[in-house]
Symmetry: C2
Subunit: 357 residues, 2 copies
């Protein structure tokens, strides 16, 4: 049965990295008889330029009927002057929310070939393999009321609402426990329950659900301490589960520990395991158009898509193996280039992965 993949390249380096990921996807589609039908759509600034909104109706409709979505990156200075509600990022937030992609998986893995790229000492990060599970459709990102109002004394006040209900916490907790069960069996839940009531409930629900996963160990950490521990000794973690805002901050810090955010994929899943897959990095306006972008994070997002949504683990393994092979060959884009390795551009990197498949 044919499965439909919606490809949303997005802005700046988005189309460049997506072109390479698409090559790889087409190749495994053939090799493994996956019967994937590829469609394309607009999101972010690219959609704004054509349709005047960052998430057009037709993109949303295509996304709803697709089996999986592959996204490049959105946003950039071209749309700085656009009013807030129409910014490219709003398209991303809207598609996450509309499709209820509540489970954001952000692995932070250090490739042994790239240990030198990290700003941390090799012994602190070598072998690093953490999975951050971030709640993606709730919390302060979407909480109401929100806005800027004028107080009686005439001064303005900006406000947002950090809010989580039990059912929202439960579903992300189950996802984290499930994933930890297939890994090292440890979940660290990150909150700020010494200050925020919203996270007092978070901690309570995590505790209530934990006994359903007797093989998984649950611990808790305050977010300030988690930020410290990620810097001090990141290998202590297996799976970290946390809310939308803390997850945004901690997953970026964790990604940067590897020194090669250009290598890191992500998945955003709904209840049925359908999902959107995208690199952890952004649209990198500064290097767009120069063939400098690293397509590997997007290519590895294809692998995650094959594994989590399309039930094609051998194709996923093949892609991950091919990426490892090109690193072994010494090929590097500019972001991960170091002495003694071969500098290649975006297209050459994509071609090398296809060749290694």
């Amino acid at each position: 049965m044919t499965k439909r993949i919606l490809i949303l390249p997005g802005d700046y380096i988005g189309p460049e990295i997506m072109a390479e990921a698409e090559k790889v996807l087409r190749r495994v589609n053939q090799q493994y008889d996956l019967e994937l039908a590829l469609e394309h759509g607009l999101i972010g600034g690219a959609a704004l330029d054509v349709h005047g909104v960052p998430l057009p109706e037709e993109t949303l409709a295509a996304a709803r009927s697709a089996d999986a979505i592959l996204l490049g990156a959105v946003g950039g200075p071209k749309w700085d002057g656009v009013e807030r509600e129409l910014r490219p990022e709003r398209g991303l937030l809207a598609i996450r929310s509309q499709l209820q992609l509540f489970g954001n998986l952000r692995p932070a893995i250090l490739y042994p070939q790239l240990v030198e790229a990290s700003s941390l000492k090799p012994e602190v990060v070598s072998g690093l393999d953490i999975l951050i599970v971030r709640e993606l459709t709730g919390g302060i990102y979407f909480g109401e009321p929100r806005g800027i109002r004028t107080l009686e004394n005439g001064e303005r006040q900006g406000y947002n609402t950090y809010v989580y209900s039990e059912s929202e916490i439960e579903r992300i907790a189950h996802l984290a426990f499930d994933l930890a069960g297939k890994r090292d069996g440890r979940v660290c839940s990150v909150d700020k329950s010494n200050v925020l009531e919203a996270t007092v409930l978070w901690r309570e629900v995590l505790e209530r659900i934990a006994p359903q996963y007797p093989d998984v160990e649950l611990s808790h950490m305050y977010v300030d301490n988690a930020a410290m521990q990620l810097v001090r000794a990141p290998k202590q973690f297996d799976v970290i589960v946390t809310g939308n805002m803390f997850g945004d901050i901690l997953s970026d810090a964790a990604a940067m520990l590897t020194g090669s955010i250009g290598m890191l994929p992500s998945a955003s899943l709904d209840r049925e395991g359908r999902g959107m897959y995208e690199p952890c990095h952004g649209s990198a306006p500064d290097i767009a158009g120069g063939g400098k972008a690293n397509p590997l994070a997007t290519i590895l997002s294809v692998a995650m898509m094959l594994r989590y949504t399309l039930a094609a683990p051998s194709a996923a393994d093949a892609i991950e193996g091919a990426v490892s092979a090109v690193l072994d060959q010494g090929l590097r884009t500019a972001d991960i280039h170091s002495e003694g390795t071969t500098l290649v551009d975006t297209v050459a990197m994509g071609d090398a992965v296809v060749a290694a498949l």
Copy 2:
């Protein structure tokens, strides 16, 4: 004219490190004729045990009439079972709020003698000297409404409010610009204005005030990127100014970059420059009572107090010089101990600083 210093040792290692800081304070008090009168009070768990509340009326009254406050650390597992409103941390939050100590200065400085203690590569952190200016009496820490409620469908929901008014943003902005003017002249304001309206206003106010400080350069960064940049290249920053929650997270990450959070002091100032001074680290229940605690962060907090509130810069310089001297002598508490240096306990470290004065 006599100035009154209120000393609040707090919990676990609090009294141990405070005893050493007090020795140092008494010494400079004599040497520099500072006419400081030292008083003592209870806060946190220590207050809870005696008075049943973490911030007793008499402590608050003494704090209001003191010229400066020196705090050890509060909290720990002994009070885990205590109801939320009475937790030791609530005493800390209450004193900050009651005294309107809105300006929290958290320097992250790498001592050249301790460059090896960092988990980051020496070239990434050597010479590090950043100042994080955290808003301390507003934002989501104190915003109303807050709590846990039951929805119509029977499930519970936890909620907090992230809120900043213009005047709150203005005063912390002025503090940050002032401080940057005395340093390298660069302020980086950290927000999440692509998602949170509360921080859209934050960014706007920062922009509006910047022209009053023509010698200071203002830039903006999203909090997720700031967390990354702190790991990747922390020396790019001079002063970082941000809200209460982001400041909590980023200042801990920044402190850990130095590898020696036991060395880092902090100041919390009100509009008049009166303030509370405390180490950045917590009450460290695991090492309490063993003479293992590093008193230098508290001793350096005394120096900050002399500089920012008591207008005694030469006494402050003398203390900082003495700390540097004991490090040069190779003396180290357990947290910063490494091969080839001399392990000393809390008391011996305090004595060495006094001797070096």
